[in-house]
Amino acid sequence: MKISTQQLTLIIMAAVVAFISLATEASARVYDLRADSANLTMPDGRVVPVWGFADITAVTGDGIIKVPGPTLDLPAADANLTINLTNRLPVPVSVYIPGLRLAPAPASQNGRVMSFTAHAPAAPVGGETTASFIFTGLKPGTFVYQSGTNPATQIPMGLYGAVIIRPAVANQAYANAASAYDIEQVAVFSEIDPDFNAYVGSNGTAIDPNPDKPKNYALSYAPKYFLFNGKTFPDTATPAAQLTAPPAMRTLLRLINAGSRNNVPTIAGKPVKVIAEDGNFLAYARDEHAPVMAAGKTLDVILDLSATPPTEPNFFTLFDRRSWRVSSSDATGSMIGFISSFPAGTNCNPFKGDMNADSKIDMVDVLVLLNKYVNSTPDLNGDVTPTSANGLPCGKGTGVLTLSDALYVLRRALSIN
């Protein structure tokens, strides 16, 4: 199906204004995705080859290969979803969405099923192949899309992403009013075994046929980096990687486990309300502080801060209680994410003061701050005092630096709580 310019304009308008206006106009959303390889750099410097999806839809897509892939965001009016896949990988690739209807057409190779559905064949060197997938009978919820081809290899390589299907009512996750929210955030959990990715990235298969020492990297799969929206700690601490849950608001967290391990995302200091599982609204929400996220599962949870005064800043840690990681000296590689909850117009990030943006606060930052102070150079990142009643470095908000800012950063650099 080809999309008209007029429809495209409407879609862009929908993204900016409100999708309800689109309701009578469109009944099928089309996403053009490309599967290709890319590299991720881990915080310890290791470069890991990945396979990911890019949104190459005309006008709206940015064409960048991402892990997790671009979020597919579908308004209520859409009855169907069409994904036109362009494959540049040296292996066949397909797309399926557990929980949504897709006409099954398993594809075989050498008499064995290797795809849950028809796939785009392996791309020739320097070329590409295509396939289309039509999902019908869409229903509101949070889902995951992933490769349906050789999934034990292709999903760990990075071929997954979030799907959001919206109900007719704005600011609700489902038709039920109990799913109402003020702001929504997506958190995709996954993991990487760098040895697995390195072999598959170079060879296109997880099986090393070396007759002397055959090895199946899918069998020895042992993840070492645990990802939160494609990043692992400490890269998850940057303001851009943090989730937002403003005070006095109800935040919907769409949690997706695209990995192959079960994990237990735990929010320190605040229970959440689990309102849906696998895109199914729960008749009775559950209060939990450690919901179980089985592999492939999606959970919609509400972080309800509606009783928190709008002026009160907070900062929450969202971590996998199973505590896996790569480093034995610090938390590098862990699934630790952060949720900032700052009053409008303020930045109370406890990692503020990292003046040279190297993910740590040390004496270099103190010197940079002092230098800027001496030269009267304003810097919002160094504007950390006064702190809030609960100790967060909200600062003055002007960027004007003072000696007490330098003192605060010095204390942080010296690990003085």
Binding site: P234, E288, A290, V326, S328, A331, K360, D362, N390
Partner: protein, 507 residues
């Protein structure tokens, strides 16, 4: 069927277990410390495993004046009251910063993450080596919770820096709702029907209680007669040895992707030590399992037929464990300290019955369990003359005919009617294990192979409560052990139906 399986299990498992210690004494309440102001120390210690092993751990010690003062695994169980503001001053005797966090509690002290060498070190402010740090929280909700270190968790949780928190509800022992409870199918000696729950919970000096504030005057969902803690954890001895012996931890880091538990603990002990005596300290006199000085808590649920038991389940490990209760199903009534009810108890009941509960890391569950012998199809007391307390009326006087042997000759054990008509081996060819009584009837004893038995003076039934992941029933590859304990059904005193008569095993 159940009985046969049970006898078989008893023979297979218990015969192989060499109990280092005598059968534990059960406390009606969970062992722990109460109050609102505590002093804790984080320090290293050593724990014993039943295979003769010995592992390094880090734990908390209760250094409050009058406290046990020695480091323990897991840390001291805090038993506090709903609404209490609790303050813990932590002294750190370890070589790296530690901290304390209290998921589910209302934290009053700072929640600002701590940095070390410029990097995130802890989710909450931490205590430097040699220093002290004060944490405070308010227990706004009743239920089952835990505390743990918020620092360097991958290491510190695997080392043991955690403990249980039991928050007693405001209405604990302050209820007067027992009259509204319908009577059940259970009888007393005089034929008067008993409700399924003993209803001793509102007696200020009685043993029972309520885990959560009832939603209304007929909400009996978390009323219990006895409560037991079931806090599980794991250790990979490779990791514990790396922590103890590796001098160059930076250049020879531990590969966490290869971490694989080989020891599983309930309340800090591996089976069969779970069934040993607790280590108790009363008025300065230490008694019980002196052999396990840093593992004071046992897990030996002992209860009478008809009593409702509350199991407070906490998983402080990294792995998921399937907890299976033999003898009956359990009903999961709360999760993460939240009652499984809807609309304040007036809506749908969200509790669920299970014979296997997935204990997920960092989660807590409260489950109730009652064993009555209901529906076995035969009179568990053999006694055909009188009703016993909480006897299942429908099975009263039902005998084992046609398999009943004429007398307790000890050569042809009796079989229940639904049992397979097999010829049981002679007494010389069987093993009953230390907990065997030789009789399929509760409170009865029959001939045992010479040298067998001796650990079941009340002639009770024993049911295994254990992980259903069979690998977890080992201690470093030695079966049986690990995440396993036996729940003992202790017969009511035969003298009558006096609920205040408690024998020496059942305080």
């Amino acid at each position: 069927m159940l009985k046969l399986q049970f006898m078989k299990k008893i023979s297979l498992i218990l015969a192989a277990i060499i109990l280092l210690l005598s059968v534990g004494q059960a406390n009606a309440f969970i062992d722990g410390i109460s109050g609102t102001s505590f002093q804790f120390a984080a320090r290293e210690g050593r724990l014993s495993t039943p295979d003769g092993g010995n592992l390094l751990f880090w734990g908390f010690a209760d250094t409050t004046p009058g406290g046990r003062a020695s480091v323990q695994y897991p840390g001291p169980t805090l038993i506090i009251n709903q609404g209490d503001t609790v303050t813990i001053t932590l002294a750190n005797e370890l070589k790296e910063p530690v901290s304390m966090m209290f998921p589910g509690m209302t934290t009053l002290s700072s929640m600002v993450p701590a940095l070390k060498q410029g990097r995130l070190s802890s989710l909450v402010p931490e205590c430097e080596p040699g220093g002290t740090q004060t944490y405070s929280f308010r227990a706004d909700k009743a239920g089952t919770f835990y505390y743990q270190s918020g620092s360097n968790q991958a290491i510190q949780l695997r080392m043991g820096l955690f403990g249980a928190i039991v928050v007693r509800p405001v209405l604990h022992k302050k209820l007067a709702i027992h009259n509204t409870v319908p009577f059940g199918l259970y009888s007393s000696t005089n034929g008067v029907r008993h409700p399924q729950v003993r209803l001793d919970y509102n007696n200020p000096t009685g043993i029972g209680g309520v885990a959560y504030n009832p939603s209304n005057s007929s909400d009996m969902s978390t009323v219990y007669d006895r409560e037991f803690l079931y806090m599980v954890s794991e250790m990979d001895p490779k990791f514990q040895r790396w922590m103890e012996f590796e001098q160059d931890k930076i250049n020879k880091p531990f590969d966490f992707s290869a971490w694989k538990a080989n020891y599983w603990f309930i309340n800090g002990r591996n089976a069969p030590d779970t069934m040993g005596m607790p280590l108790t300290s009363k008025n300065g006199v230490v008694s019980g399992s002196l052999q396990l000085p840093s593992q004071p808590y046992n897990c030996m649920p002992l209860f009478h037929p008809g009593e409702r038991v509350l199991i407070r389940i906490i998983n402080m490990g990294q792995d998921f464990h399937p907890l299976h209760t033999h003898g009956n199903h359990m009903r999961v009534v709360a999760e993460d300290g939240n009652l499984l009810q809807s609309s304040g108890g007036t809506g749908a009941d969200l509790s669920w019955e299970a014979f296997t509960v997935t204990m997920a890391p960092g989660k807590t569950f409260d489950a109730t369990f009652t064993w009555s012998g209901k529906g076995l199809g035969w009179d568990i007391y053999e006694d055909t003359a009188t009703f016993r307390p909480y006897e299942y009326i429908a099975d009263h006087i039902k005998t084992f005919t046609p398999f009943t042997s004429p007398a307790a000759s000890g050569l042809t054990p009796k079989l229940p009617p639904q049992g397979l008509p097999v010829i049981m081996p002679g007494i010389q060819e069987t093993m009953a294990g230390p907990n065997g009584s030789g009789s399929p009837f509760l409170g009865s004893k029959e001939a045992l192979t010479p040298g067998e038995g001796g650990f079941n003076p009340f002639n009770g039934f024993f049911f295994m409560w254990h992980s259903h992941a069979e690998r977890e029933l080992t201690n470093n590859d030695i079966f049986p052990g690990g995440l396993l304990t036996m729940a003992g059904i202790v017969p009511w005193p035969a003298t009558g139906d006096n609920l205040t008569v408690l024998d020496e095993y059942m305080p």
